[in-house]
Symmetry: C2
Subunit: 125 residues, 2 copies
Amino acid sequence: MSMDFNSLAQQFTEFYYNQFDSDRTQLGNLYRDESMLTFETNQLQGAKNIVEKLVSLPFQKVTHRITTLDAQPASQNGDVLVMITGDLLIDDEANPQRFSQVFHLIPEGSSYYVFNDIFRLNYSA
Amino acid sequence: MSMDFNSLAQQFTEFYYNQFDSDRTQLGNLYRDESMLTFETNQLQGAKNIVEKLVSLPFQKVTHRITTLDAQPASQNGDVLVMITGDLLIDDEANPQRFSQVFHLIPEGSSYYVFNDIFRLNYSA
């Protein structure tokens, strides 16, 4: 990969949210057996369990809107860390919910997979 | 370290914010030359540059209040990833600001240092 970590992070994140918002049953390709997802208070490991969780979320229409996206190299091996903050628009709710998410991406051949994935809604104080 | 990653993440984060809020000139011990900080749109590398940035922030009194703290193992080598969301109370401002922060911690002897640090305020939409 000759792509710099900022471009990689941006392209990955846009691809991920587009896939999530259009057909989240296909997200399993981005995870491996050792991958971990923390979704609110739920902790899951492995592509199969992670996709089952994401598919089971109780909404039909969903749109992620990115507000901030920051990336850093996370190792000497090409790993990339991405933190995103943004808005989540669910079904016909009038008000978006704020969210924060972090991905730890690991290179694999000419692509990347998700090793760590932590997602939290930002509740109002 | 016999400590599990959740306990480590919690202890580290509490220590970090207590140190930040009481005397942030001492935070340099937690970073190394290869450490990176993204603070809003500023990117810095190295303990010296990172602490200079943190010390230069234009507030006197500051308090971090943790709302959520989630951790995952980030490698086979004991690395730990932590994502925190919370409130930042600055000087005499009446309203706290929401923030999101991620730390990538790497073991070193019987302790850990910060390799990645990304901090963002969550602006209202």
